[in-house]
Subunit: 330 residues, 2 copies
DNA sequence: CGAAAAAATGCAATCGATTGCAAAGGTATT
DNA sequence: AATACCTTTGCAATCGATTGCATTTTTTCG
């Protein structure tokens, strides 16, 4: 910066103020210095700036993996969320520091905020425990979580309307004449449980009673779904005619099991996924699913995080979902 | 840090050295201070440390999108690479700053290195132009690129053995009696062109002549593949009996087009993908593909980047690939 | 025991941008 | 012409960890 100042024939203070577009500097001077900076490919030292201003313009995004499964790493949905977050953050002038629960072992506040690595934290996935997020928020970390926004918490949670999603999925199958609906997903997981509640809502609304033996509390992986469907058919035969899946990847595993047995889709079994990842419409049959609007979600998460950074109140919010009907169900 | 020093009854110099495990400090003192630091949840100010040491322990990972397509955002393969990079970097004590070509507009050296936002850069995807990478390397940025390692360049390139991959794919189809092989991929893209050369190699080795009208230079998207396959069948009928795809996502689009026309796979048309994304084995029929070892690749990229950071020479390298035979081809 | 060598610790400068306050330059008013 | 006032710029302290060098403490050994 002192080079720049010398070039422009001003002090470093003036140069600094000019680059930050401080109106106290004469407009002509500002423009001249900014032009010089561009011309000489000047860029300020982020470390020094961060030290002095105590702001980093960086947001840490934590992929909150469930310990013993490999869900996150391979699930295109989570990665899509990260991509959209990156876009949303960049639009606001922030950078994305990517982390998993591995690097930032336990104490998120200390590791990211206290150490001035980032100004705030966005957590993707509630996993099954929220202790780390609770602690971080309590310690004063600006924090937003993607998850089930109905969960009681001391930080804002942004998430889809999972209950409505579950309901729309089941309702759609019921309306198309399917009544014995498998629910593929772990009800011990907050978001999945909401979806399950929606599944129950749909049954109730249609005057049906959901069969609890049709709920398979599997991990969020294709493999687990594949295994679960295979096993149940082996044991009990084809005792269902529809599947509500907790994710498209899960639906994919289920589909494979069905196809291998030459069970017709949607004739014998209709299936609905959740997420609407790119692949969904490319399957054969194309997968009916509940679309989560990740773009919108990312923007809302960033918005609520910035609110906290600006000392304004921040709130949980629900993202609209949408049933996308394709061939796997009709 | 001064708090810590006070707590321990030493100077900040001693505290700093103790935390950095500097052997000049008595072992007992070191351990005492480290214990205190842990106990009080102390963590050093990264901004100050970076300013003073001129090192950030951060690596910028740039997703080098091809401008007019949406490949990267939706392709699970690229995101898998990012995930593996994150792991590999963390293992070495580095953090991952995620970027796309949007934020770091033109001048990567200035934006990331000169500004001390990161110590080095890893670029995922050569796209079609390497100008930005060339410029950054010329300016002195520690840089590693994922791409075609045969490309001449002033920076190390890590990539799969694409030519061998293309050859194995075509060879496999030929050995199984398929001789009119479509090649789905843009030969103007370095990596894809290598795969195409391999495809030609296999033909030559088998004494066959490849039909140039069977090459479809499409974008790396499922949609483009779907359209291309549909169009050619409409125009010329089913004039091929095998497909070599440049990615699994591309294969997915092709598969869909074939299935919609009730063309039997692999009976009438056998198909081989590239990448081996998680979904490949879950398709029906499961997709034969060329597996790229992203874990290995990520480790090698990080290794070569660290070499540069340590002032040691760095080299391009080739990652082994592997044919994974599944039902879509036999 | 005393001096020299070795080990352990502390002092103070440094990294580079930012910013409160002071100073300089310019304009208007009486 | 002198004063008051506003605009523009510069001085110098500051953020907090690191590190060369100096200093203090401990150990060694004649």
């Amino acid at each position: 910066m002192s080079d720049l100042a010398k070039l422009a024939g001003v002090s470093t203070s003036t140069a600094s103020r000019a680059l930050n577009n401080n109106p106290v500097i004469k407009l002509a001077t500002r423009e001249r210095i900014q032009a010089l900076a561009k011309e000489h490919n000047f860029s300020i030292n982020a470390a020094a700036s961060r030290l002095r201003t105590q702001r980093t313009n960086v947001v840490a995004v934590i992929l909150n993996l469930i310990e013993h499964t490999e869900q996150s790493i391979n699930d295109p949905f989570l990665l899509k969320v990260v991509g959209d977050l990156n876009q949303a953050l960049n639009d606001k002038g922030y950078e994305l520091l990517l982390s998993n629960s591995f690097m930032a072992k336990d104490d998120w506040y200390n590791y990211f905020i206290n150490s001035r690595r980032a100004d705030g934290i966005i957590v993707v996935g509630q996993a099954k425990s929220e202790q780390k997020a609770i602690d971080a928020a309590k310690a004063g970390a600006p924090l937003v979580v993607w998850g089930d926004s109905n969960t009681q918490s001391n930080y804002p949670i942004i998430g889809s309307n999972n209950r409505l999603g579950g309901k729309l999925a089941a309702q759609h199958l019921i309306e198309n004449g399917h009544t014995r609906l498998v629910f593929l997903g772990d009800t011990g997981h907050a978001e999945m449980n909401e979806r399950y509640q929606g599944y129950l809502d749909a049954h109730k609304a249609a005057g049906l009673t959901a069969d609890p033996t049709l709920v398979f509390p599997i991990d969020l992986t294709s493999q687990a779904a594949y295994n679960a469907v295979n096993e149940t058919i082996l044991k009990r035969g084809l005792h269902f005619d529809g599947i509500v899946s907790c994710s498209d990847m899960v639906a994919l595993g289920a589909l494979k099991a069905l196809k291998e047995r030459y069970i017709s889709i949607p004739g014998e079994v209709a299936i609905v996924g959740f997420d609407d990842i790119a692949m969904a419409e490319l399957l054969h049959p194309a997968l009916t699913t509940i679309r989560q609007n990740t773009r919108d979600a990312a923007n809302k998460m960033v918005e609520q995080l910035l609110n906290q950074l600006n000392g304004e109140p921040a709130f949980s919010d629900v993202i609209d979902i949408e049933l996308v009907v394709r061939k796997s169900s009709v």
